[in-house]
């Protein structure tokens, strides 16, 4: 479904869609005021889980259709045209796009698969995206993430499925910090944890 198609009809029930960390917007903003750390939610991004044989012609065609190749190297993100493709496993990727793009992107990928065995599943609401940015972003995450986040080891363009505190996340290194993709049911826990872990770094 797309946001536009339902937004109007839902309005009569007072609320439309709601992102998993919506309740944290004000506390994220307050925690970010000092500048050394920035916490925020990017709601409603399109997430498509794509599974295919990486060596198949379909995988190549999907990359071409998206304008972004499906990365074959573990832990790598490919980007272009407003899309990024995260390596999740040797036959599994997460295609990240803007709000409302799920249906169109799904069709594009299915068309590119052209009957080959490819799984495309809309998981946009399965996870939400939390931003942990600023000069102390690494320090905050290091309280709960066992990966080596040194820029030489995990710089922009890298991603990993790993643990943050006591929840699984997809961690993506971006220019000014990290995106933490967390399961929706864990979003409140992750938000509370990040707020607590950032106390010393709020500047």
């Amino acid at each position: 479904m797309t946001a536009e198609s339902v937004a109007g009809s839902v309005a009569e029930f007072a609320i439309g869609r709601r992102s998993p960390a919506a309740a944290y917007a004000a506390r994220f903003a307050a925690a970010s005021a000092g500048g050394a750390i920035r916490l925020a939610e990017i709601p409603f991004l399109t997430h498509l889980n794509v599974r295919a044989d990486p060596a198949s012609p379909a995988a190549e065609r999907i990359g071409a259709a998206l304008g972004v190749p499906l990365p074959v190297e573990p832990g790598v993100v490919t980007e272009g045209g407003g899309l990024s493709v995260l390596w999740l496993g040797p036959d599994e990727w997460l295609v990240v796009g803007p709000d409302g793009a799920a249906r169109e992107l799904t069709e594009r990928i299915r068309d590119a698969a052209a009957g080959e065995h490819v799984s495309v599943v809309d998981v946009s609401a399965q996870r939400t995206t939390l931003v942990v940015a600023g000069e102390r972003a690494r320090d905050v995450l290091a309280h709960g993430c066992a990966l080596d986040l040194h820029p030489r080891e995990f710089g922009p363009g890298r991603c990993a499925q790993t643990l943050l505190a006591r929840t699984g996340v997809v961690l993506v290194a971006v220019e000014d910090g990290f995106h933490v993709l967390v399961r929706s049911s864990f979003a409140a826990y992750a938000a509370e944890w990040l707020l607590d872990a950032s106390v010393e770094y709020r500047g």
Partner: protein
């Protein structure tokens, strides 16, 4: 906390993995053809050596791939990791 080298993701903390017991114990092709004893052996019997042991691990919190490792059960040293379906490497 062991450091286990996932064949795809590289070294990660043991906490990211699930243990899967002895490797190379295939599900029988035709269970109906087995005697009760043979079936019970598949269900309930596993090796428990002191020393090198080929065992299964899943990178549960990472890429979710199952793979095999040869670990020395006396020292916890992992001598090799290899992907599911690959033969057990010879450790010298």
């Amino acid at each position: 906390m062991l450091l286990i080298a996932c064949p795809w993701c590289g070294p990660r903390d043991e906490a990211e993995f699930h243990y899967g017991g002895q490797a190379h114990v295939a599900h029988p092709e035709d269970p109906a053809a087995l005697s009760d004893e043979e079936w019970a052996r598949y269900l309930f019997f596993r090796d428990n050596p002191k020393g090198l042991f080929a065992e299964r691990w899943s990178h549960a919190a990472g890429c979710r791939r199952w793979f095999n490792a040869v670990r020395d059960t006396a020292t916890n040293e992992i001598h090799a990791v290899y992907r599911a379906g690959e033969p057990r490497p010879v450790i010298t």
